[in-house]
Point group: C3
Chain length 273, copies 3
């Protein structure tokens, strides 16, 4: 199934608009190109609305948000909804500051999201309206483990039903659910937390996957999560004892560039619950 | 001829001011350093004017433009004109949104550009005042081919005469013309379209080349286009079957760092029409 | 001594807030991760103050400053002071424009800095209230050499006493002083000036080191400077004749990822005067 989904990305080459933070934006662009998609970035409110209209999908990432880009996110999100374009939300740092939490909650109120992807602390902050995110990383106390997996699945399903969005909680174990079915994904490597923007790249990738597969947002989001994790694994095998997180970042994007739909099908490590 | 032009870049080490998008700005900076130039970036209107004055040349790139940076572009462009500094325009996404098209046209009205570099769709959008750019990539229908080369040359010459700028249209075949002579350049690799910012990097590079060779803007722009394409070729030869677009990006900048003026002279693949 | 300081960074994994330029921000984030720290970036005034509060340290870098981010720098700096968090200032381009010089001087007046790190031209601009910085690089006339070292040490000590901050002047020879003791450091490679943001990365690194070692700001800053230089050396040994500044950038961050506290102790090349 993931083979076909990834083939659609490579064949349709969806144009994805990203309103995203300036820390990891270049990596997001190269990741989108690596998967076969085409990126464009615009964050001036006027420009963002128009650029959204020529794209197939929209990725909103609230890292380094500001008073100028928040209206752009809202306006572009609404426009994407009008046009029936898939929209992904990455609530970077929700729970870490009032502005981030409130902006994410405001977006949730005004925009219908296809997928919301974050770490467990960020998603909890959205679901509970507050949080204790440790910066942009998940709080250790929040971590998804085999022990709390069932409980976390139930939490994710509940939030998916409330929002109408596919919820993707990524970490050591990834959960992707539409409120009914849930994918538990065990691809990826712990070393991925040592590069900045692995999550941002995944959100951009997810936007490309759901844009190319508009009728299967759950499966497309799960495929993107598996693809990212699988590339993290492939890239890790390539590491020499001189390589560190900077080369690893390059290798992950390289791995996506080289990943075939068949290899994704074979390498995807998930169970459906 | 290109040897001497590139030697001037390496010897003079021109300081180039870039008002450019935040997606590819780091690559532009490293590309400028790779060619022997020195980059500086400022986009606050007040700061941009002053920084322009201490530099030798200016590169204006309208990707991720906003209401704060547009006045900075205009003010810095005018200041550069007053000082007789070369100014390059990269109209990223002109034709893709009204704000981008209008900003680029507004800049063309207010600022005298030494070189305008874009893909064929962007340049058409400027020449015709509207367009159908596919995001930041050229529309397939627009592509410069051997079949439409003569027609495109004529279009480029005409636009060069109207604007007084050297026009550089880059794609599979690159055209660089001052309205009289035209360089048709066949360096480069199709894989270059899989990295973000190859065009942005080329515009920054062009600014360095024309700044170091103020009396030969046509030849300097053509040399920059050849150099970028040649580095794309060299970098491609270095690719292993694990490498993808992220390593390719690094290898292109590395290739510029290693490129000698003599190797540029030998490797430049162009005809003058 | 540096071994223990670096161990503290790796063990405490300090969360560092960076208000920094968009040119080199991704490299700063990956450098912080490489040393064992955790980066977060926020530059909206409201957000910056709150994010500062959840972090352990703050790094203020004035490259690509603008009218929106300057108030964020001031407000975050004051909040960090209230909380007793270490604050690092990187006065990128001070002396190159009035806005940069005045912003840096304004910050010095309003915020108590733990460390001020810049090239000699930038630090001179701050100390003298004006300057002739060549863009973001040190003016050749200013360079720290064995000949003018004693005089520069005296200048640095004096500025450290006046500001109450540890002053780190980096270049071919690095000086780190608290007004009493001074470290003269001879790690590093001239090739480091061919990558953008080596200085920005060092400032971010310094913030991590002083945050993890709040009682030893002088030694922590000196350790960061040695670590950065040492990584520049290690990375240089890895360069092939195809590699250039882009790979070098990656290798330096990789080297930090691999650097052990013991290797820093062994490789640090300094004298205390």
């Amino acid at each position: 199934m993931f083979q076909k989904i990834f083939e659609n990305v490579r064949q349709k080459s969806p144009l994805v608009h990203n309103i995203t933070n300036y820390v990891t934006v270049n990596d997001c662009a190269n990741m989108l190109l690596a998967c076969g998609s085409s990126p464009i970035m615009a964050d001036d409110p006027e420009d963002a609305v128009e650029i959204t209209a020529i794209c197939g999908g929209l990725n909103i990432n609230i890292g380094t948000l500001n008073q100028r880009t928040i209206p752009a996110m809202l306006a572009a999100g609404k426009r994407a909804n009008e046009l029936g374009h898939p929209v992904v939300l990455d609530p970077v740092g929700a729970g870490a500051s009032a502005l981030r939490t409130e902006t994410a909650l405001g977006l949730l109120k005004e925009v219908e999201f296809t997928v919301i992807r974050g770490n467990i602390s960020e998603i909890k902050a959205l679901a509970l309206g507050s949080g204790t995110t440790k910066g942009v990383d998940a709080d250790v106390a929040d971590k998804v483990t085999e022990e709390n997996l069932t409980m976390t699945l139930s939490f994710a399903r509940d939030f998916a039903r409330r929002t109408g969005a596919v919820i993707a909680i990524t970490g050591a174990i990834d959960i992707v659910t539409d409120g009914e079915r849930a994918f538990c994904i065990r691809n990826g490597r712990p070393e991925m937390s040592a590069i900045t923007g692995a999550g941002c790249q995944l959100s951009a990738l997810t936007a490309a996957f759901v844009t190319a597969n508009p009728d299967q947002p759950l499966e497309a989001a799960a495929a993107a999560v598996c693809a990212m994790g699988l590339c993290g694994e492939t890239a890790c095998q390539r590491m020499t004892n001189l390589d560190g997180n900077s080369s690893y970042r390059n290798y992950i994007i390289d791995a996506m560039y080289r990943l075939t739909p068949a290899a994704l099908e074979r390498g995807a490590n998930y169970e459906v619950r």
